[in-house]
Symmetry: C2
Subunit: 425 residues, 2 copies
């Protein structure tokens, strides 16, 4: 279709404040409710949520020909996404038309408009998808170098496989929660280097990891592989992903089979899924990959995205602070390569799978995407405005991550993922 | 309840051949169909499948008071299991009564009996549960020692954390398939020790891992932990689990974040879920744990199970051979400890999660649960009856795993998980 949902000159009849994450060029999908129960599919526009179940019922999607309108009344986007990119793109294009300032269909239908547009302040956002499987990659070179320097050997910070494949591992899907859900400091085994035995207690090195995650919208069968050229057909959109990590638990448990309890107590995501179509204008070249990668990982075109990222810590009382400013463009391995690698062995994927990038660190010290790196393992604490300092995350702290792209006066944002840490039980 | 479903003197009016895995004392649950489509819940008895949807419709479960009988017509056992152990135990006890030779209700009701009992030869078995999250543990000391001896240091074969916690990691749920599903040899990156760069191609070291897996039947909320004393309330039952592994892919990819593509192309399970109640008579003491484990991992009572396990390789043409005889009792870490560890950090669990034991190797060379160990990394090939030899699994081979307990003349079996390996695409 030729519809230009990203045209910078588009304006909506819905008021969109300057610096809003949600202009008419964005139109991300999410799951919301107004009573905590009856969840439905919504699209963010300015400071409103557009209720797609209302539009569907009022026949505004008739031209898109969706057989079963119940996809708009579900607990997760999965059934909607599973309709396929042709349909979800057509729905998004139809919404773009309906919200266009020149279009009177919805604008001048007061009855439907009042039902369909709900102020964000009145809605509760839910997990956007039911996550089947969740993979966490490790695709930022700077992050891998920082961790390798701290924990292994500064002269050989990257392990031998790192530049040959996008290292990844499977994580826990059940504990991925949406922004606004408090998490509880995990307890577990840790062992000091000089201790004879491990001890048990609350993690003392609780950390965030600043990541982006993509969500797949199309399944494959076992034995099938996805090429880097086709990968984007399988990608519905992106969310911000906070991969909570307990560094002390991780250190003791992770050899030889990888992180487990250090990660699986919680991960937090932003509620609005920004489609890959909305990010089209923000494509940039990735870093040159040297040594040359194997053919199945080679790709053409701009597969990185210029997304500004930031992390703020908000203490329970007192002023908060942005502690990290990074960018999604820093990724060494792009999402096409990640998905090609995930499936090159015939591993099947499903609708609603989540694939996180790994911590996104840049070259500058203030662009490191975790406290581990920002405080350099606790040796260089961050000074907070209230006079306190942070090596890691304290009880009562709220960690807020934000992401947005900006170009030609258009800002495509993700909103935020905001999570408060409660004391261990 | 006082019903003794495990009483060795129980006999069924359904014919149960001697050496059947499915006497009236077993009554495992599974999902079956007769046309490949309309799946429903069944129970194995002798060489028949008892169709619970028929019994439910004919009011045979009225006394159990199940509100929504649709749980018997699902694609997976999850909704049935989610009714809770009180209900699933009551259903199993009711079935035990109905099949008892002294009970005429079903036996003498020819109309219902003909509908409800279907020869196993006529049914197709499906995945018993929809797996939410899947964890693979590493809980056999002999297996961990063998691997550590081969790949690291024979004098320090066990890593420092191994005797302090049940090492585990998350695996891929989407590629867990039921017995009878062919798998395709995975392709991937491998790197020879003396090579400068990795190469890409079909795995040359395809292996099985003999494991048992338990399935959870009750969920927890994030932040909750399960004690070793309560763990069994959360365990519905067990299946045999073949954790397919590509050793050459694993070797190159697994540092530092654990196995990924070496495992996630496929895992295979047996179709009948044997309840933990059916295994009650086969409890045995576990090995003494030294050094003493932390309080949250301490337990009382017999938490290991005396289950005979075997693995056979059946070449495409020619005679097969049992290559491994092991026993589930060899586990160092028991299932109660595994579940307590999985949740000690507040990680939430769901109904239908699967937790595999890790390769179950015994002390004797013929009890090793993988080709890696049986052929000692390929240095001691196994001789097959047809004159060929096996270091790892070849295209066209079928790997068959079986498990059963036996005592007082009663044999509680799992049937088998049987998987043929097809060539790489």
């Amino acid at each position: 279709m030729s519809h230009k949902t990203q045209d910078p000159s588009l304006k909506s009849w819905v008021e969109v404040p300057s610096h809003s994450d949600f202009p008419i060029q964005n139109l991300p999908f999410g799951i919301f409710s107004t009573d905590g129960k009856n969840t439905r599919v919504g699209v963010a526009i300015g400071e409103q949520v557009l209720d797609l179940s209302v539009l569907a019922e009022e026949s505004f999607f008739d031209e898109v020909a969706i057989e079963d309108l119940s996809v708009f009344y579900e607990e997760a986007l999965n059934p909607f996404i599973a309709l396929g990119k042709e349909v979800t793109k057509a729905v998004r294009e139809r919404i773009s038309d309906l919200l266009n300032q020149t279009n009177s269909e919805l604008r001048d239908n007061e009855r439907v408009r009042k039902d369909a547009l709900i102020p964000m302040s009145r809605v509760q956002m839910h997990m956007p998808v039911k996550v089947g499987d969740y993979t966490d990659f490790y695709s930022s070179e700077e992050h891998a170098r920082n961790v390798g320097t701290m924990f292994r050997d500064p002269d050989n910070a990257l392990l031998p496989n790192w530049k040959h494949l996008p290292v990844g591992y499977h994580g826990r899907a059940s504990s991925i929660v949406v922004s606004g859900t408090d998490i509880i400091r995990p307890k577990g085994q840790t062992k000091a280097d000089d201790a004879e035995k491990p001890t048990f207690g609350p993690s003392r090195l609780l950390d965030f990891e600043l990541e982006m995650a993509f969500i797949t919208g199309k399944e494959t069968r076992m034995g099938e592989s996805i090429s880097t050229a086709n990968a984007e057909e399988y990608i519905f959109g992106f969310v911000i992903f906070n991969d909570w990590s307990a560094r002390d638990i991780q250190k003791w448990e992770y050899v030889p089979l990888g992180p487990f309890l250090a990660k699986n107590f919680a991960s937090s995501v932003s509620p609005w899924v920004v489609t890959i179509e909305a990010l089209e204008p923000y494509r940039v070249e990735g870093p040159k990959q040297e040594p040359e990668v194997l053919p199945y990982l080679q790709y053409e075109g701009k597969k990185n995205f210029d997304l500004n990222l930031e992390v703020a810590i908000q203490p329970e009382k007192g002023e908060g602070k942005v502690v990290c400013r990074s960018n999604f463009r820093h990724m060494y391995w792009n999402v096409n390569q990640q998905l090609a690698h995930q499936t090159v062995n015939g591993c099947n994927i499903k609708v609603g799978d989540m694939y996180a990038s790994g911590t996104i660190s840049g070259k500058d010290k203030d662009s490191y995407g975790s406290m581990l790196e920002l405080s350099w393992r606790g040796t260089q604490p961050i000074q907070m405005p209230d006079g306190s300092e942070r090596k890691f995350i304290l009880d009562g702290d709220t960690v807020i991550m934000r992401a947005h792209a900006e170009k030609d006066g258009v800002r495509i944002g993700f909103g935020e993922v905001r999570t408060k840490v409660l004391p261990a039980k």
